[in-house]
Subunit: 358 residues, 2 copies
Amino acid sequence: MKVLAILYKGGKAAKEEPRLLGTVENELGIRQFLESQGHEYIVSDSKDGPDSVFQKHIVDAEILITTPFHPGYLTAELFEKAKKLKVCVTAGVGSDHIDLNAAVKHGAQVLEVTGSNVVSVAEHVVLSILLLVKNFIPAHEMIERGDWQVSDVARNAFDLEGKVVGTIGAGRIGYRVLQRLVPFDCKELLYYDYAPLPEAAAKALNARRVEDLKDFVSQCDVITVNCPLHEGTKGLINADLLKHFKKGAWLVNTARGAICDKDAVAEALKSGQLRGYAGDVWNVQPAPRDHVWRTAKNPLGGGNGMVPHYSGTTLDAQERYANGTKSIIENYFAGKPQEPANIIIGVGKYETKAYGQR
Amino acid sequence: MKVLAILYKGGKAAKEEPRLLGTVENELGIRQFLESQGHEYIVSDSKDGPDSVFQKHIVDAEILITTPFHPGYLTAELFEKAKKLKVCVTAGVGSDHIDLNAAVKHGAQVLEVTGSNVVSVAEHVVLSILLLVKNFIPAHEMIERGDWQVSDVARNAFDLEGKVVGTIGAGRIGYRVLQRLVPFDCKELLYYDYAPLPEAAAKALNARRVEDLKDFVSQCDVITVNCPLHEGTKGLINADLLKHFKKGAWLVNTARGAICDKDAVAEALKSGQLRGYAGDVWNVQPAPRDHVWRTAKNPLGGGNGMVPHYSGTTLDAQERYANGTKSIIENYFAGKPQEPANIIIGVGKYETKAYGQR
């Protein structure tokens, strides 16, 4: 059978660093495994347009492997052409680049390597919160350019201690973010989610659920987005909701770019309604050169903590999602059941509520 | 009496942000308090050389207020001229810019606002560890310059989970750093200190003491320096000790610049022996424009997380150390005893072991 993988290009870095498993060059380390069993393995970063490797080979691939970092967008239209497709594996977490309703319709399973990078992302969230609250980037840039004006950076630097931090989504990542914040003596840890946390978990975090989103955001000094992208969360953080934020709040989004309205966030940062915005996810990836999130700043010239989508693709995470991808494929070959936590779409039906199915 | 304060200049920032209390402009908010009692209050950032305000007024000041961020260096020689000096207050934590032996000899007390910014600094340490381990700065710079090459940053990005983190010094700051790292599931938390932590504290952190420094550094993936600067710690991290570090370790120093040998650290970063170096303290402050720590990078062009000395002067910290300074002065005026934890040098003797007195 044909296995098609759309990965990001590693170039020189991938040649020098074999642990960059999630790259076109290092092919998740599964070529030998697949070819020794007689399968064909196509790997490319060419993903957009009708002449792309993705669209050329999707027509007869049985297994598709993609990543959130360089997403191959599998639309309903492409599903129509993907006559042999049985399994979509997301090497990582977050399968919004796959049209999930179309997958249900076509009987293709969608699987993630659920545990592979939730810790990596949660760590990046804590990093992003701290660097915004402490006004780190302007301070570092000051050193790089040869200056030293403590007051110019201290004027917008705070402690996380005593602040109210809230997560939109308290699932595998959001929960781990709150867990890591417990010893920081925040004033309060809040969460907004469609379901309450199990009692023991909420108690361990001393976290309080707020059921109304506007009410929730109005109480937070720091808001972090940790929910999947689906029809119900697309554009959730828009101009209207941003008005309900505390003036000068910090916003961190490592979930999916399209959960935030690009221009509304940039405007809020520019006006000072947001003191900072950080994260690694973009509405289109790779982000165009002129994407407003690359350069948007607060009125003091700071508050931008953006990076390319890499928080879930640390070398530690790559090892885990490469192994997890292999194990999903092994299960499929052997007709064994998949790990329940990895199943987003089973044959013909949703197996998770995370993508807005209630 | 004359009260002399050497603070950092705030300029426009201090005029716009009254919470920048630790600046020359905002004078720790104590001018009215002092003048209403008939005292003279001299405030300046002019601190170096015989014509500086510092050296001019030290001859008849009874109270000297300084900060670690823009240190007025009170040498043994200057102490000879400071005939009326009774109290040196450090608005913040760390009094190594005062010649403590000379203070003992001259019967001048040295007091710190001990609790004022230990949390601020501990938070900055966790931030610095995360940003080095996750290779944040090259990723952010990539976005700023309009690029998108995930592999070029992911190749040197890791998780903190599973790493060994050790602190040199497990006092008020080092302890709080370890506390904040507990939920990160590090492989192990280690500490090197002249005294073991109280049993309950060590147990709460699950932290293990290593008594030999070379042995200690050889076990750590991340090392953070959280001890005071004194004769026994100056140049502690030098070329010889760096050879005992794990290849590619990360080093964070928010304690004092001179604890690390400037050139040895820069060399270790350049060679890749260190994967990263971050912190906010410098052997001379303000750091000269050509200070090697401004520009030193690892072989992949990253690994520099330096900022000016501001981690302990967040707006939250400034409020605390301004209040604490006032309260120390009030105690002195009233002849009341000082908070024991704030006393570094009592009249004629060391009251702490933190500065190398055993």
